[in-house]
C-alpha cells in the first residue's frame, strides 16, 4: 500500500517537475526541477528493487544538474530566463508532436498484451549486476570504460581554449607554464 502511494506521488512529482523545466523562467529553477524529476525517478527505481541503479541515478543526476545550472547561467547571456520572453520555435508543432507521441505510446502500453513475468529477481540484485558486468557482459563494461575515456578526451579537446603551445611557449620549454591563473601543483 505504502509502495503504491509512494509510487504515485513520485510519479506525479516527476512529471510535473519535468514539465516545469520548460515553464519556469529561471535558469536555476529549470535545472533543479529537472534534478527533482530525476530524484523522483531514482526513488521509483528503488521501489522497483533496483537499488544500485536507483541510487546511482540520483547521484549522477544531481551532480549533472549542478553543473548544468552553471552552464545555463554562463551561456544564456541575454537570457530568456530572467526576462520573460519566449525562446521557443515551432511551439505548436512541438506540442502536437509530443502529444501525439504520448497518445501513441500510451495506447501501445495499454493495448499490448504484456507477457507474464519470467524468472525471479536474484537474492542480491546489486551483486548479480556486478557479476553480470564482470562475467558474461564484460564487453559492455569494457566498452563503457573506453567510451567514458574517449568522452573525457573529446570534451577537453572541444572545450579547451589554450593548448600546450600557449602554456609552454613555442618550443615547449617555458617553465613554469604561462597561465592566467597558476595551478596548485606548479606544473
Amino acid at each position: 500500500m505504502i509502495t503504491h502511494v509512494a509510487f504515485w506521488a513520485l510519479a506525479v512529482i516527476a512529471v510535473l517537475a519535468g514539465a516545469a523545466v520548460f515553464i519556469v523562467n529561471s535558469m536555476a529553477r529549470a535545472s533543479y526541477s529537472l534534478a527533482v524529476s530525476f530524484i523522483c525517478v531514482g526513488l521509483q527505481v528503488l521501489l522497483l528493487q533496483q537499488n544500485y541503479v536507483g541510487v546511482v541515478t540520483i547521484l549522477m543526476m544531481v551532480m549533472e544538474m549542478a553543473i548544468m545550472a552553471v552552464y545555463m547561467v554562463m551561456f544564456m547571456g541575454m537570457n530568456p530566463a530572467l526576462m520573460p520572453m519566449s525562446m521557443v520555435h515551432d511551439k505548436r508543432h512541438a506540442l502536437a508532436v509530443s502529444i501525439a507521441v504520448f497518445v501513441l505510446l500510451a495506447t501501445g502500453v495499454l493495448l499490448e498484451p504484456w507477457p507474464a513475468r519470467r524468472g525471479t529477481p536474484p537474492d542480491d540484485v546489486t551483486a548479480a549486476l556486478g557479476e553480470e558486468l564482470m562475467g558474461p557482459k564484460m564487453l559492455v563494461m569494457a566498452a563503457v570504460g573506453v567510451v567514458m575515456a574517449v568522452t573525457i578526451v573529446a570534451g577537453v579537446v572541444l572545450a579547451a581554449h589554450r593548448g600546450r603551445y600557449d602554456r609552454f611557449g613555442d618550443d615547449l620549454r617555458r617553465r613554469p607554464a604561462r597561465d592566467p591563473q597558476p595551478g596548485g601543483v606548479g606544473r
Binding site: S26, A28, R29, Y32, A35, N51, Y52, V55, V56, I58, L59, V62, M63, M65, A66, I67, A69, V70, D123, D124, V125, T126, Q181, P182, G183, G184, V185, R187
Partner: protein
C-alpha cells in the same frame, strides 16, 4: 541481502537518531567555541557557552530580505545540509542497530554527499548577491576537485569487504581496521567530509574575503539551519567513517554502540580542531591537486586493496 549482524529498528527511532545527531552538533559547536576562545586568549568558558547564545540570538533575529531573491531555492539550500546529514546517518549502524539496512549504503552516502553541490550553490544563488554567488561557485570548483577522489576512496573499503552494505563492511574489519591498510583512502575520505561540510581548508565558499560568501545574506533561522547543517555534516561524515574505516563497533569492554559513539566523537573533534589549524585551500589551486595528485593516489590505493582482496579470497 543484508548482514545478519545488523538489526533494523522501528522507524520511530529516527527521532532518537536525530537527537543524537543534534547532541553531536552541539558538542562540535561547543568545542569549536572553546578552541576559538583559547586561541584568542579569552576565557575558555566564554567559548563553551557561545554556541548556545548564538542559537538564541539567531532564533530571535529577524530575516534579512534581499532584492529579487529566489526565496524558494534559497530556503531549500539553507535547510538542505541538515537533511543531507540526517539521510547519511540513516545508513550508519550504531553498534547492532540501523535505521535503514540498504544493500548499497556506500553509494547512498555518495548520492547524499553530492547533494551538497546542489544545496550550497542554491544557497549562494538564492540570495541574489554577488558575494554569495561567488561563494557558491567556489564550492562547485572545490566539488570538481574533491568529488572523484572521494568516490574512489569509498570504493576501497567496499572492495575489501566485497559489499556495499555499511554493516557488512563494518563486520569485515574483525581484527584489522581498514584505516591501517588503506590510509590514503581514509585521508581522502576525511577530506571529502570536510569539503561537504564547507569546513576548514574547504571553507573559501564562506571565506572572509567575500564577506562570508554563501552565508553572507543568511540571517535568523536560515543562518542557524545552514550553520548547524555544516556541523551535522561533519558529525555524519565522522559517524560514517567509523563503520567504513575504523572497525565499526569493535573495541574492548564497552558495548558496540558506545564504541561507535566514542570513535565518532574522536574523529569529530579532530575535524573541528583542524579548522583553525589549516589555511584555506583556494579552489583554483586545489582543483589541480585533486586531479593530478589525489585521484591517482586513490586509484593506486584501490588497486592495492583489490590486489590484497583478490589474494585473500
Amino acid at each position: 541481502m543484508s548482514d545478519p549482524s545488523v538489526r533494523v529498528v522501528a522507524p520511530l527511532w529516527v527521532l532518537a537518531a536525530a537527537g543524537l545527531l543534534g547532541l553531536l552538533v552541539l558538542a562540535a559547536a561547543v568545542l569549536d567555541g572553546a578552541l576559538s576562545a583559547r586561541a584568542a586568549g579569552a576565557d575558555v568558558r566564554t567559548g563553551l557557552t557561545r554556541p548556545i547564545g548564538e542559537v538564541a540570538r539567531l532564533m530571535r533575529q529577524r530575516r534579512r530580505v534581499t532584492v529579487a531573491a529566489d526565496t524558494l531555492l534559497w530556503r531549500v539550500g539553507g535547510a538542505g545540509l541538515l537533511v543531507m546529514a540526517m539521510m547519511i546517518v540513516t545508513v550508519v549502524p550504531l553498534g547492532d542497530w540501523t535505521l535503514f539496512d540498504l544493500d548499497v549504503g556506500v553509494v547512498w552516502f555518495n548520492a547524499m554527499d553530492v547533494l551538497a553541490w546542489a544545496f550550497v550553490w542554491l544557497t549562494g544563488w538564492g540570495a541574489n548577491s554577488a558575494y554569495s554567488l561567488v561563494g557558491g561557485y567556489r564550492f562547485l570548483a572545490h566539488g570538481l576537485g574533491y568529488e572523484l577522489p572521494l568516490m574512489f576512496a569509498l570504493v576501497a573499503p567496499a572492495v575489501a569487504a566485497s559489499s556495499l552494505n555499511v554493516g557488512t563492511i563494518a563486520a569485515a574489519q574483525q581484527g584489522l581496521w581498514f584505516v591501517v591498510w588503506m590510509p590514503v583512502a581514509f585521508l581522502v575520505f576525511c577530506m571529502g567530509v570536510l569539503a561537504i561540510a564547507v569546513w576548514g581548508p574547504f571553507s573559501p565558499a564562506l571565506g572572509p574575503d567575500v564577506a562570508g560568501g554563501v552565508s553572507v545574506e543568511l540571517s535568523g533561522v536560515d543562518r542557524l539551519l545552514f550553520l548547524s547543517g555544516r556541523y551535522a555534516l561533519l558529525a555524519a561524515g565522522a559517524a560514517f567513517a567509523v563503520p567504513m574505516f575504523l572497525g565499526g563497533g569493535a573495541g574492548p569492554l564497552l558495548p558496540a554502540w558506545v564504541w561507535v559513539l566514542v570513535k565518532t566523537l574522536a574523529l569529530l573533534a579532530v575535524f573541528v580542531w583542524l579548522r583553525r589549524h589549516l589555511p584555506a585551500a583556494r579552489p583554483d589551486l586545489f582543483m589541480e591537486v585533486g586531479w593530478v595528485v589525489l585521484l591517482p593516489a586513490v586509484l593506486l590505493q584501490d588497486l592495492l586493496v583489490a590486489g590484497i582482496a583478490l589474494g585473500r579470497s
